[in-house]
Amino acid sequence: MFIKDELVGQVKAELDKMTNPVKLVFFTQEVECQYCREMRLLLEELVPLSGKLTLEVNDFILNKEKVEKYKIDKIPALVVEGNKDYGIRFYGIPVGYEFTSLVEACLMASTGESGLQPESKNALKQLNKPLQIKVFITLTCPYCPQAVQLAHQVAVENELVTSEMIEAAEFPPVAAKYGVMAVPKTVINETLIIEGALPEKEFIERIISSQTSNQP
């Protein structure tokens, strides 16, 4: 059991703030997946805590159509989908510190409200090309949820943006590919690298300047 009795009330109270239904689209497989089973159990504990949450379980091997639709490339994977797919992804199990990010993602996908500052929302309107944010984390990192949640907020705010939480210890080859030796580490469009958690304003500035400086 992940969500202990004494926390159930608190999680419920958070989820009560949901306005529209949210579908948790989960990708898993039976074998060769370290935490697929545990992540499914976590989601099965979470879903009953709100009448607005539903769970859809997809087999990563068998359900190619869905895998392609959501562009899933590793498992366990979770899409938090509201009225539309905002681009919120979790690769690896969001327990430990990241459970908060999962609850926050449900709220955002439900309300469609990113909660970003008005000036950040304005600045993000300048984006004109797709932006993919990867945030590498570990489950024992107290600074990481700030980076994950900020990236997810940006994804909710602008439909050109997708935001992935990636639990580094669960995907060693991916972590090695991106040279993840400290977390949180954020990789934007495979090129811009941010070590550590940035405040909102600074993060938005880095995103915007990465796009404008790339323009021909």
Binding site: T100, P142, A175, E202
Partner: protein, 330 residues
């Protein structure tokens, strides 16, 4: 070695109630910092019905990354996250405005003893009084390679980054409680841990010293770390024996720097009197050298850096600000 997920449990961030801050208001009190001192000050300010604002990077401060706490009264044992969460809940029951996550970059005294703060997110707020509870942060070693290899093998948060060093050889620099805790965290995943301390002994609590006695831990006591080396990531550290000046190179893929803390007092430089460690000098009522500005917790020159002391001083500072405002009038 996979993590035991069940032990990890789940964690809900201590959120506090996020009342929207108002830059047009002249606050009674601005509290800088969200650790035990700042959070306690916030609860007291709320109960005095102060128009108060808390500016913080997070709620919990250093407590957030303290794993086990056994000396906070009322709890024989509690984790840092749980205690922060309980503090957060108490703040939620006693809400004030919150500007978070953000950090204060500038503090200015204006005519009429009005205080203006500017934040990293370029917000400005004014108040009639201030409680500074901005705490401390990790100190850096200041050797070649340290900055260059940040995120490439140099790490400051062992609980965060230990899982990324599974099966690797690592060094921990330091000899106090945080260094020994890092050794403990790393022993769970790493191959070999080299503990390098500039002092000839370990300063940490006996309990932690005992836990660090492990065949996989090699001690280098009285050795100074002078350089961190590698090509595109850490490959070795250079250490020198303080007594006989012998120099050695230790092959490691990670370096965890755990040599204590320094105060977050930059914004107070030139405004308040600081001591030689850049801590804010306070009297026993948490008053600083400027009337109307109070300080509490680890950022001050109070000797005991303890959660319970910081929390107590946070209460004192908030109450001192309250009586200051009452006597100030208007």
């Amino acid at each position: 070695m996979p993590l035991n997920l069940k032990d990890l449990g789940i964690h809900l961030a201590p959120e506090g109630r996020k009342n929207i801050p108002d830059p047009t208001v002249l606050y009674d009190l601005i509290i800088i910092g969200g650790g035990p001192a700042g959070m306690t000050a916030a609860v007291y300010a709320s109960r005095k019905r102060f128009r108060a604002l808390l500016i913080a990077k997070d709620l919990g401060g250093q407590v957030l990354w303290t794993s086990d706490i056994e000396n906070y009264m009322g709890y024989q044992y509690i984790t840092g996250q749980e205690l922060s969460k309980k503090f957060g809940e108490q703040m939620e029951a006693n809400p004030i405005d919150m500007q978070m996550p953000d950090e204060v970059e500038m503090l200015k005294v204006e005519p009429g003893q009005i205080f203006r703060v500017k934040t990293k997110n370029k917000k400005e707020f004014t108040a009639k009084s201030v409680v500074i509870a901005s705490g401390k942060r990790y100190r850096s070693l200041g050797v070649p390679g340290e900055r260059e290899f940040l995120g490439k093998g140099v790490a400051y948060c062992a609980t965060c980054d230990a899982p990324l060093f599974a099966g690797k050889d690592v060094a921990v620099i330091g000899g106090g409680n945080s260094a020994l805790t890092a050794v403990n965290d790393l022993l769970k995943v790493a191959n070999q841990v080299k503990l390098v301390n500039i002092m000839p002994n370990l300063q940490g609590d006996a309990v932690l010293v005992e836990k660090a006695r492990d065949p996989r831990v090699e001690l280098f006591l009285g050795w100074e770390t002078v350089a961190i080396k590698g090509l595109d990531k850490v490959e070795a550290i250079q250490i020198i024996n303080r007594k006989n000046k012998e120099s050695r190179e230790l092959k490691v893929q990670g370096v965890f720097i755990e040599i204590g803390l320094e105060p977050n007092s930059e914004f107070a430089k030139g405004v308040l009197l600081l001591n030689e460690h850049y801590e804010i000098i306070v009297d026993c009522s948490c008053r600083t050298s400027v009337i109307g500005i109070f300080a509490a917790g680890d950022v001050t020159n109070v000797q005991e850096k303890q959660i319970i002391v910081a929390a107590g001083d946070g209460a004192k500072a908030s109450l001192a600000a309250y009586s200051y405002i009452l006597n100030r009038g208007a």
